[in-house]
Every structure is written in structure tokens, then in C-alpha cells.
Assembly symmetry: C2
Amino acid sequence: APNYHIASIPGDGIGVDITQAAKTVLSTLSTASKAFTLSYTDLDWSSSAYLQRGYYMPEDWATQLRKHDAIYFGAVGWPSVPDHISLWQMILPIRQQMNQYVNVRPTRILAGTKSPVAACQKDPKLLDWVIVRENSEGEYAGQGGTTHGHTKDAIATELAIFTYVGIERIMRFAFEVAKSRPRKKLTMVTKSNAQRHGMVLWDKVFYEVAEEYKGVVEFDKMLVDAMTVRMVEKPESMDTIVATNLHADILSDLAAALAGSIGIAPSSNLDPTRKNPSMFEPIHGSAPDIAGKGIANPVGAFWSAAEMVRWLGNGKLDETAGRLMQAIANVTVTGVKTRDLGGEKSTAEVTDAVCQEI
Amino acid sequence: APNYHIASIPGDGIGVDITQAAKTVLSTLSTASKAFTLSYTDLDWSSSAYLQRGYYMPEDWATQLRKHDAIYFGAVGWPSVPDHISLWQMILPIRQQMNQYVNVRPTRILAGTKSPVAACQKDPKLLDWVIVRENSEGEYAGQGGTTHGHTKDAIATELAIFTYVGIERIMRFAFEVAKSRPRKKLTMVTKSNAQRHGMVLWDKVFYEVAEEYKGVVEFDKMLVDAMTVRMVEKPESMDTIVATNLHADILSDLAAALAGSIGIAPSSNLDPTRKNPSMFEPIHGSAPDIAGKGIANPVGAFWSAAEMVRWLGNGKLDETAGRLMQAIANVTVTGVKTRDLGGEKSTAEVTDAVCQEI
Ligand SMILES: CC(C)[C@H](C(=O)O)[C@@H](O)C(=O)O
Ligand SMILES: CC(C)[C@H](C(=O)O)[C@@H](O)C(=O)O
């Protein structure tokens, strides 16, 4: 069985709890399936390390990471460090420099979890989306600045940058995802009515790429504001969704909330060229309020782990990843759930139960 | 009774249907209350006019509008004109040049309407928000451009611009709104973890202004992505909300969807200095698919009309505006509703019923 080398970055807060839980479950899956093994480099790149030594990641971070097959990431962010510092010293540079230009966020209502939306409570199958997020440019390009910063004349800018190449590759990826799913349907999100430069290019390239998928993938376009309405009112009308870095950030949190808990949703930061390691993380944050209490929901971390296994296998470990997903569903359906899902179990109890199921 | 001079811009699609309905209801309110009268200038500034003559608004549009006490706006946008053209030739320049730097969007579950959220179906009082939107700058500043536009090397930018003065005035307005409401609570939305220039200034000015309201208004801060989760999961935990032009655009559509229909929500574009006319419009769009069929929901238009009366009265017509709001609620509660609210009445039938109630 192939061995994969994983860079493990638990990060801050509950990132530590859930990374530990994910490793436990992955080890059980490895033993039980005999389909793969993992070895880890444990990296203490975190806010507490930063507070001690002044940096999150060492200077050769990119070289270090490139020695691995994948990155498993917990969460970053801690009250004593301004968020824009922690994020721009770790997660965002990793996404950008590792060429992880795709972020994939599947959302559905897991067996045993409950959507807050009345219609989805009756029929959980209504909500089954994959959000494909542009992960390398747009509103997260990182440019901008401040003039007259410490005065009442201050002006600060954020420059969103969209490139043809950046848009084309995300559209192509999204169409391929849509094509691989039973419904073969892609909804593209934009705000080109108000943002008439970058978003207009976004639309244009979408329609160009769409030409190649005519008759194969059904597609439509939504404005981001109206998209939130459609997600609430007509979840069944969508399948695969493609949106900009910021729009998809917002929509994927909303999606997770509509599906029942932000604690279950995974996020895969992919370099589709496979020249750099891809990164897998739950979409939730470091949750300082419950950090270290042993009550964080590990399901998002498990689902992320399953996506990592699937990616590493590149077609050969789909069944093994599916086994983990099935184990998660078997556990949540019996009511072994953390508090955010309406249960009362601890992180460890849910982890044990999932290991048993595997 | 004072007479107010209104610039009426029905615009496109159902904007025409619902502006007509609003005028009917306002006329009944005027007669019944004897508290005010209105006279109108009807402006055919629309996509169909644009297609005929090449422009939405004449060159002296700003001068024309300034002769009025308020602007009543239906909707703009039509499939045969690219949205970024229609919007940047009408609604966005009006908001910016008329100094309507505040956009207020109250959202609650009207009697007789039904939220899609299970918890809110049980207790509609859970959701009662006022979203205060920065309406003059930020992501809608309008700067940006395209280089190598017609090639595969194209790069397009959108420049979001935040100024101290722009942020301070919206924060102050939002704190005053919060202070005037029973719960005295303000939630500020930001994305300063990823956007480290403009959004960091946004945060900084918020905390500066907040100093003045300590002990008077309770306040907290949310990231925009996490905010969508909180709106779905804990609607009762918020009251007044302040956010940037784009964030509030998205959140207010979501709010309307969670409250039961995008067709009921109003939007007031205010110049708090009262040197320019303020503009009142439902938040819904022109809905080409149902335009001219007589089935558009006029409630958003009525609620906008009530907000206009309240603004014009500047404290003296609150009761009159309340009378219209009560009439709307009395009608929706009896089931006289359009299809989007689960009823089967026409625009005209709802309009008649509201007039009867007044
Ligand atoms: C932590 C933060 C920078 C990040 C983002 O905005 O991308 C998070 O919200 C996410 O969705 O992964
Ligand atoms: C029509 C469009 C420009 C507008 C906006 O984005 O502001 C609309 O969505 C709104 O919310 O009023």
C-alpha cells in the first residue's frame, strides 16, 4: 500500500483537538483498509508559537511543505493576534503559493443532522451542493493600502484582481465537477451588475468556457445577493456552484448553516496540477470559546480527512474514503453527536464511535 | 397639511406595476389621514427608454431630482441591457450623487407571512433586524478597470475604497438607529481577517465611534461569512446590523429570504443631511419573468412608501406611516397575499385590500 507524507498543522484553538481526532480516525482507516499508510510531519505553526517567536512559519516554509504529499490543516486565529496578521502569515500564503487555486466545499445534510430550514427537515435530499471557490485571487489578491492612515482623512483600499487565466481554470474545474455529478448542473455566481470590471470579465470567461460544455452540463448565472435567497428558498434547484473567493467564502458558510452545522463542512484547497501539496481543512474556525474543552465537533475534520484520502488516491482510494464517510453517517444517525448537532457527546466519544464503525 | 413633491421613477419590469400600486395606497393614506399630500413628477427613466434614445437619465438629472422632496423608485434592470450599464446609468449614480450614504433595510416577519426557518415559524418574533448599509463607497466605489481586455492575458480589477469620513458617518448613523430601538444592540460586520486594509480601517473607526456609545448601546463584531451562520442559527441574537455596501447587499437579501419573502422588504436610501432628496425602493428587482402579469407582490413597495412618509414627516408623520404598516399587516394576516407569500391574489387585489384597511 502506498505511504503518503502529510504535513500536519493543527494551528489554534479547536484546530488542535480536531486534528488529533482526524489522525486517530485516519490511522484506524489505514489499518482497517490496508489501502494506504500515512506518515506525518507535525508543524507547530500557530498563534501561540507566533506570540513566542514572532512568526508563524519559518522562512523556508514553502520548501518544507513541498516535501509532502498533502497538508492537513486544523484552524488558525486567536484573540491575542489580529486576524489579518494570523491569516496573512499562514493560511492565505499557503493557498496562494502552493497554487491551490481551487477550494471545493461539498455541502449536504448528513444522516442524523438536522437543517434549520423547515422544507429540508422534511426532505434532507433537497440540499446537495458542491461549492467551487476560486482560491487564489479576486478579493483575496492581497493588494491595497492606506493613505493618511492615522488621521481623519484616512483612505484605505482593497484591490480585487481577476485574471483571465485565473478565471478560466476555475471555470473549467467547476464544469468538470458538475459533469462528474449525476445532475450535471452548474450555477455561476457574480456581482457584475455593480462591479463592472472584474466581475464582467468573470462572466465573459464563464460563457466562453460554457461553450465547450453545451449539451453536457446545464448552467445558469446568479447575482450573489439573489443567490442567498435561492439557497434558502429553492435548495433543490442547484447542484454545483462556482463563485469568487469572497462570494464563495460567504456562500459556503451559509450553505453549512443551512445544512445544519458549520462543524461538519470540509474544505479542500487543491492544486489540480498536483505539483504542490493540496491542503485539507474543516471550514470552521478555531472557536476560542470552546477550545481545549474536548467538545468540538470533529465531523468536519473527518470529512476533510476523507477528502484528503480521496485526493491522495487520485481515483484509487475512492472506496476507502467512502468507507470513512459511511462510518461518519452511521455514527451521526445513531445520535452520537456533539452539542452543535443537538447531541451531548464529546470529541473523543464521537471519534471512538467513528473508529468502531470503520 | 404639507405637500411633498415626489420624483417617481417606476423603471423596469414589475417596478412599473408596484410603483402604480404604491401611488394608489399613498393617495388613500393621504385622503384618509389628511396629514399630508403628494404631487408627482413621473420620470420615464428606464431600460426601454434607454433602448430608444440611448440614455437612462437626461444630462440635468441631478438638478431635476434636487427639486423634489423624495424619490420613489421601482426597479431597474432588463435582459436586453447589460446590468452593469443599467445600474451605473441610474440607481448607483443617484445613490452616490444625492449623498444617500445610508441605506436602511428593516427586516421582520410580517403577520401572515411565513419564514422558511423552522424556529422562526414557531416564533416569528425571533427575527427583527434593521440592516444599515454603507451606500456610497466601499466595493461600489466604481473604480477599477481592465488591461489586455480582449486577450487571454486580460486582468480586471475592482477597487474598493473606504474613507474615514465615509465609515464614521455610517457608524454614527447605525449607533443612533440601535439606540432608538428597544434592544439597543449593534452588530458590526467586517472581513478584516482577509481584507487587511479597507476592512481594518472599517473596524478601527467602528471602535472609535463605539467609545461614545459605551453603556448606551451594546455592540459586537462579526465576520461576514460567520454572520450568515448566525442569521440562520441565532436570529434572536441580533438587532441592528451595520455592514459595507457589498456585505450588506448580500446580507439584506438573505435577511429578506429568512423573513419569508424578498417581495416584502423595503430599502431607504437616505441623505441624513436632508440637503438632497432621499430615495425609497423595494429591495426586489425588476423580475422580468412576471413583469406586466399583475401578480407582483406590492408589499415591499408599500413598506417603502411607509418609510418615505416617515422620512418626509421627520418625526411628524410616524403615526401616519404606522397606519399604513398596520394596514399591510391586517391584510397579509387574513391571507390576502400574492403567490410568493403562498397566497393567490393579484397585485391589484392586495392593493385594494390595503386601501380598504386604511
Ligand atoms: C480564515 C479565513 C481567511 C478563511 C477565508 O476567508 O477564506 C475562512 O473563512 C475560510 O472560509 O476558509
Ligand atoms: C440593483 C443593484 C445595483 C442593487 C445593489 O447591489 O445595490 C440591489 O441589489 C440592491 O440591493 O439595491
